[in-house]
Amino acid sequence: MWRRSASFILDERRRTSNSPPMADNNTTRAPFQNPDAISAYYQTRAAHHGVITSDWLAQAQAAVGGVSGEEYPDSSVAETGKEKTFNVIEEFNGWRKQPDLAEAVAAIRALAAVIRASEASTMMELEIELKKASDTLKSWDKTSISLTAGCDLFIRYVTRTSALEYEDFNSAKSRLLERAEKFGEISCKARKIIAMLSQDFIFDGCTILVHGLSRVVLEILKTAAQNNKLFRVLCTEGRPDGTGVLLSNELSKLDIPVKLLLDSAVAYSMDEVDMVFVGADGVVESGGIINMMGTYQIALVAHSMNKPVYVAAESYKFARLYPLDQKDMAPALRPIEFGVKIPEKVEVERSARDYTPPRYLTLLFTDLGVLSPSVVSDELIQLYL
């Protein structure tokens, strides 16, 4: 049977064509191996583990802007980005340096500072300035959904006060500033609110599966531990970012029992899982989420095994996107290191995130409350219309 499978033939071809260095690659790439090569396959995988852990740091640094600002504490660096010609970017970066602050929240704070520092004399001017600053921030990282969504929501929220044009400018401006500060504060506190709301869902003795490194989810687990709940966490490895290792570090500091899983061991372990917790890069209009690659898979497995999938996302992540399928989003690619050299003609799927449709999600924990996925559109419509 194996002799006739196409993959087997491919392997055959590869092996006969050449390269010992390729052999490792082949083992990792080929879906199927000869029985005698199996152990070699697994052996190579073992070797890769080591490679990954040592590599992740550099990769994370490089990819931080592109993937999700939320997932890396201390994001720092790297987006070789824009020259800081504008005040707003400096402000933004200043805020971002705080390790715990999400990218979008930093942007919101920066925009609030723009209002404060603005020298415009009419409402129209101020709005134009705000729009320009927001565009600059958005272009700093085009692939970050939460950044774009946060900026858009901020502008909508702030300018949505009534009768702006009837007041004298200063009072209107101060009102805008008030709302901006309020929005910024809400966003900052969002994590705490979400953590509080989700405490009811974690019961003693439960097993939680976590994918990706979301600061919100971390906050939730921290709060649960502080409330002396007894639970254990299974976290996926999170290749290629190695989020699993990071998360397990953090959790073991909190004395929460952690178990690391391979990404592919999710289905295997799903039986013993009580609930799945993920964060989100962005929550789209249909109620689905865009998150680190692998979330869709886990949601599918959980759904088919009737395990609830809970998403923890702040409300500024609600974006006006509506992907129809996986390829319908703006691509966000990140370099993936396999630790060994790959021939050029081999393609690598480098997308860093995937889209999970709303039917696989159970609940969204947001600072607006515990919502069902269809409420996202409701909120967006109310804000935008």
Partner: protein, 639 residues
Amino acid sequence: MESRRNPRAVVDPKVRQVGFFTSDSTHHPPDPIASDSHPVPTVSPSRNSLSPVMIPPPRHNSSDAFPLRAAAAASAVSPSSFSYSTRRDFPDGSTTAASPGRVSRGSFSRSSLASSSLPGVGMDSMAAAKSSSVPASGLTTVSVVNMPHGLSEKASGVSDQKKSSKPLKEKTTKAERRALQEAQRAAKAAAKAEGGGKAPAPLVSSGSVASTSVKAAKPAKPSSQKNDVAVAATAAAGPSEKKGGTSEKDRKKDAPHPRMQYDDESRVVKAKRRAVVKQTEAKNRVELFRHLPQYEHGTQLPDLETKFFQLDPMHPAVYKVGLQYLSGDISGGNARCIAMLQAFQEVVKDYSTPPEKTLNRDMTAKISSYVSFLIECRPLSVSMGNAIRFVKNRIAKLPITLSESEAKAALQSDIERFISEKIIAADKAIVKHAVSKIRDGDVLLTYGSPAAVEMVLLQAHELRKKFRVLVVDSRPKLEGQLLLRRLIKRGINCTYTHINAVSYIMHEVTKVFLGASSVLSNGTVYSRVGTACVAMVASAFRVPVLVCCEAYKFHERVQLDSICSNELGDPNAISKVNGRGDINYLDGLTNNANLQFLNLMYDATPSDYISMIITDYGMIPPTSVPVIVREYQKEHLLV
């Protein structure tokens, strides 16, 4: 509600009562003025005057003007039934004006969701009438007034008709009880009416008539429509008020609900009496769909054409639009709505307030009467219904202080704004959103000939996107061929097939674009028959389904199946194939009792099969439709 109504008799299909029909002098002549708008069981069932639907005679004098019966009687009748019908509903449902009528009535014709909007307005007046039935007979009379006018316009009322309807009334015991009630109310109303002046009087009578004709007009909507008709009628019939009082009353009683159940014989008879368009009922009807009107096609058009110059109460522009609907020249939600609104603009332009009438009420009555006529030609679509609700709302909101010309100008500009904002600009917004979803290499499937989707495809082609189109079509309308022609002319790569092959070709489709006649509150898409089929197959193949629909077509009602509300088309269209004389296997079987033809026009697609709805408000999931409806209403009080 059931207890207050006459038991519904099964309508003999041969006795086709559709639209409005004048009730002849019924047993109400005794209290022409005092008649209250109380539902009158007495009148309804018995009033089976089989006079064909006639064009309402001129208000002022009946007989000679038309070959049909005189209007006077009719006018009196219509209003009453009108008011009556609404009245009926209210006591039953303690719901607000809008809802009860809709729910309690049968489906007038499902496509006439518009009727729901109509009754909304009419119902408001009705509600007022109802709630204050006794104390505010003045009020009731007012509302009732509207009805009679409209009805008189429409219905061909003749005194003899009314008389013939009377015996029908007496058949029911409930009717007797009602008559008693009515007499009492009439007395009260008369007392008030005297004080109210001449206007109330006919109203009262019409009200009473309406109440008596309780049976017919269950659905609030139809009644409100009738009311409007009645109102218009009464408004117009100034001088002949007294004389037409009785007839108006009778007519009102007979006016069927816009959403009436067509399997209720009495109601249908009444409706028929008032109708302008002479419709002959189809012989063989499917039992499950007997609550929907079914006409013999082909009989009305020449008939109406000859009557063109005799239609005094009907505005020529509206008449023209009605004819276009009947003949099928204008089809599609947007086209029909725009044609109707433009006709209304003409109406407003040519309008002049009759003496002793207020512009608001009279105009509303007129509009209602025209709408009733349009319904007779072809049941309203949801888009039309919402537009009518908008127009009536604007009329009602006109400040009293405006002069007539100012009011008319304001109305005209309102209608213009509605067309340009809600339809034309909305379409542009939809196109903008939808083309962002079309990628190079896409294979797009569309069904029928939705206007919005056509615009999307043409625009995507302009933007030089590389895609090809699969047009799925179905008999008997074969609308897809029109779309196909237009696309081919622009050079788009198309494939054409019929709906029986949709599962065969679905594997190569990447996206499905569908149009909608309406989207309901539970996310159900109400659209051309066959759409549900296409959506289901697409969903089985995991192909995303995108529905393009302007927001003004959203409706707050909920529909779970395609049966309770629909429109029946010409049954002969499915028994014959155009241009293929050799397919004559069913010739001679059309009247066979064992064979019924069912030609449905619409169907309901559940929201599970829809991936996204593209509206002028953006792309929303089907679950968010009630949010849009809610937000919309806050904005304008209407779509």
